[in-house]
């Protein structure tokens, strides 16, 4: 019997794995502490959350299995409905804010003449990263007060009619929270896009110039397609971040007025820390986890599909 060219006698996958482990044991040994820590501090809490979501756990006593009762309660709760709608608005607007301003600023700085000038502006946009986010929130909270900077500014430029109780009006509270932090240039997103632009070979820009792609046309036809990996990553991180975000509603409005700024993550937080219903809070957490996975998958699928 002659051997068929290109055909190797089969080897068991288990033996392959063991052989690989034997060959690379020093590397795996070095990885082990990290894996253990990640397992204990990241995967174990997630496992606890998933398993206790089906119980009436109060954070202390032995939990009793309650089946899908917590999930039924979550999906039938009208407050959860309002919170989910708020979150949807937040995710959509948050995505726009995470992508557009950093993209615009990175393009502008990238097109500046002179490396030193680029460096100076880049630094200017990154420096605010050192300010704790809570400080920013409290400052913006004071801006939004009835006697705050925003109303004072509006009054001083003759737009007194636009003065508003920004955080105590259900119609404006959510948008006030979403749109705090002007000029919305997230340092991480900006640097990611700027690095992406720097990574585009000069030949590509030269070729585009010869083809007549300059200005906005170049941005749309050359930069954006080549920045797709960075934009995709920012989109995924923004979706995950905004689904899980609840700090500004917690600090500035406690989810009010009414439930106007309540989001599911805040509901989860209050359910656990204020009401002591950890089982129900974990069910909300599991639903959020499923949503994050679904939205992340969807965004990856969209970005792949348009290639």
């Amino acid at each position: 019997m002659t051997a068929v060219p290109g055909f190797r006698p089969g080897s068991s996958p288990r033996r392959d794995t063991l052989a690989r482990l034997r060959r690379g044991w020093p590397a795996y040994l070095f990885l082990l502490p990290t894996l253990l820590l990640v397992g204990y501090f990241s995967y174990y809490p997630a496992y606890i959350a998933v398993t206790r979501a089906f119980t009436d756990w109060d954070g202390l006593n032995v939990p009793n299995f309650t089946g899908v009762e917590n999930f039924q309660r979550a999906v039938s709760d009208p407050v959860m409905g309002q919170a989910t709608l708020n979150m949807a608005i937040w995710v959509v607007l948050g995505l726009i804010l995470a992508l557009l301003p950093p993209l615009l600023i990175s393009e502008l700085i990238f097109h500046l003449r002179g490396r030193r000038r680029q460096y100076a502006y880049r630094t200017l946009f990154v420096i605010p990263i050192v300010i704790p986010s809570l400080v920013l929130l409290l400052v913006w909270g004071s801006f939004y007060r009835s006697d705050g900077l925003l109303n004072t500014l509006l009054g001083s430029v003759g737009l007194g009619g636009l003065r508003h109780d920004w955080l105590s009006d259900p119609g404006t509270a959510l948008y006030s929270l979403i749109f705090l932090g002007f000029p919305y240039v997230d340092a991480f997103n900006f640097l990611l896009l700027y690095a992406g632009l720097q990574g585009i070979p000069q030949d590509v820009f030269d070729a585009a110039k010869i083809d007549g792609a300059t200005g906005w046309r170049r941005v749309l036809r050359v930069d954006l397609p080549l920045l797709r990996p960075q934009l995709g990553l920012i989109a995924v991180l923004a979706i995950i971040g905004n689904v899980q975000y609840f700090i500004s509603p917690l600090v500035l409005t406690s989810g009010g007025p009414g439930f106007a700024t309540t989001v599911p993550a805040l509901l989860m937080y209050f359910t656990a820390t204020r009401d002591g219903e950890y089982g129900y809070a974990m069910a909300i957490a599991v639903l959020l986890m499923i949503l994050v996975v679904a939205l992340t998958g969807l965004s990856r699928w969209i970005s792949r599909g348009s290639r």
Partner: protein
């Protein structure tokens, strides 16, 4: 599994231990850790002249009596008591004795963080001469109001907070007001004057549980005995509340129940709207406006005086009580003075941890020793010593007297309201978060003009019905039999 069984057994045993304990710590020797909150002695960072010493003196007396037992007070700030209790209990490291709200222990905190003290309260306290049952020296209404529907009592409570309206004398003088408002129309007129002068009359979260009790106690004063008597005990318990809600008395079905909301709105319409829809916890932020002389008045508890001193308030502060209402404000008023209607439980409100929440309580004899320490400091004499020194809380036990030591602050208003009979009607504790969260949210939306009174009534009815149902379901009570 065995561990769980052991813990369960210990929890079940704890009340029994308490009930059979002798008036002595027994043979156990070691350190008892206590979080005494506002009564904590030698607290770091407090000005020398404001330092409290009495609890340490009481501890020294106990240590002298029982060599080998040490009492240690926790002297770090606790920003969020309930979170501290949950976290420490989950780790099995809760303090042996700690400050906690009876309301929280009865509702949102997990069962098993505090020992049921009711059996111990029925036993004599040997540190009180001639005492037959420890509870005989306590305030009966306070004891009843803090009782869990199961009959358990988780806190040793002995004082209360007096609520009043503090005011910045300089700011009122600035707009020509030299005498504190004494009636509702005077209060509104003063507020409008201040508003016109660009001064915030008040800038705070109008806490529903606080304000509602003044109005409801007045409007329902003729029904007081009925509304507090369903459970056969003095004071208004969560059961009394749930029954009254179920009967439609403490709901919008009764015209009196929300007829005061427009009256209150007259007042809050003169305030900036920033805090109207906020969570009552935001009153900590609102307090800064009073300290910073941005608002002229502050409705708060007597404990706030110490905070004013700590915050370095230099301007003259006065106080006036919630004014008596007349028929002009509401046709439902009965003319009763309800200044004393809201009296929150205070700083002397201590719980004892269980072996589940505190592993050291599994040591043989320690629960008896800790309970004995509570008996020792929980006497009328020591309560008097503690409240006299602390100066911002009013002791509630019969025979004790209020001695407010509020620095150079004029405490006349607080002193006079404390002398009033203790009568209070509310709709806030039948279920967890009823008053502080659910009703507060509706109240805020109405006061800020975001919903009409009819919309508020509809929402309130839903919330109250759910609260009564929750109470009945959780406590297996048939409300219709009352």
């Amino acid at each position: 599994m065995n561990r769980r069984l052991t813990l369960t057994a210990l929890i079940l045993a704890a009340p029994a231990l308490a009930s059979t304990a002798e008036a002595a710590p027994g043979s156990w020797r070691g350190t008892i850790y206590m979080s005494a909150a506002d009564y904590a002695p030698n607290f770091p960072g407090v000005k020398k002249e404001s330092q409290l010493k009495v609890f340490q003196q009481i501890a020294d007396e106990y240590e002298k009596l029982y060599p080998g037992i040490k009492i240690r007070f926790h002297n770090q700030p606790i920003p969020d008591t309930n979170t501290m209790i949950r976290v420490k209990a989950a780790a099995g490291e809760l303090f042996d004795v700690y400050w906690a709200q009876a309301y929280s222990l009865n509702s949102t905190l997990p069962k098993g963080v505090a020992v049921d003290l009711a059996p111990a309260f029925k036993q004599p306290n040997a540190y009180i001469p001639g005492n037959k049952a420890w509870q005989d020296v306590m305030d009966k209404a306070q004891l009843a109001e803090g009782r869990n529907p199961s009959g358990a009592v988780y806190t040793l409570s002995g004082d209360k907070v007096a609520y009043t309206i503090f005011y910045n004398k300089d700011l009122l003088k600035k707009v020509g007001i030299t005498k504190a408002p004494a009636t509702w129309p005077e209060l509104i007129a003063a507020s409008k004057k201040l508003q016109a002068a660009g001064i915030f009359p008040m800038h705070a979260v109008p806490a529903y549980p606080w304000w509602s009790r003044h109005f409801l106690t007045d409007f329902y004063s003729k029904d007081y005995a009925k509304l507090t008597g369903y459970d056969g005990l003095p004071g208004q318990s969560p059961l009394d509340e749930a029954v009254a809600i179920h009967k439609g008395i403490l709901t919008p079905k009764d015209d009196r129940f929300m007829s005061w909301w427009p009256v209150m709105k007259q007042f809050t319409d003169t305030w900036p709207k920033d805090y109207l829809t906020a969570d009552p916890a935001k009153n900590y932020d609102a307090f800064q406006d009073f300290v910073g002389q941005k608002e002229a008045m502050l409705y708060e508890g007597s404990y706030k005086v110490r905070e004013m001193l700590d915050a370095g308030v230099k301007f003259p502060v006065g106080a006036f009580n919630f004014p008596k209402l007349s028929k002009n404000e509401s046709k439902y008023t009965t003319g009763v003075n309800t200044a004393n209607a809201y009296s929150g439980t205070g700083g002397f409100q201590f719980a004892m941890s269980t072996p589940l929440a505190n592993k050291t309580m599994r040591e043989k004899g320690k629960p008896e020793a800790v309970l004995d320490w509570m008996r020792f400091f929980g006497t009328p004499k020591n309560l008097q010593r503690l409240t006299t020194e602390q100066g911002t809380y009013a002791p509630t036990w019969p025979g004790t007297s209020v001695k407010l030591a509020l620095s150079n602050f004029d405490s006349g208003a607080i002193t006079s309201q404390i002398k009033l009979p203790e009568r209070s009607i509310g709709a806030q504790t039948a279920s967890a978060n009823l008053g502080w969260v659910d009703m507060q949210r509706i109240f805020g939306l109405y006061l800020s003009g975001n919903i009409t009174l009819d919309q508020a009534k509809a929402q309130a009815q839903t919330v109250l019905d759910r609260a009564a149902q929750d109470y009945a379901r959780k406590n297996k009570v048939d409300l219709s039999k009352y």
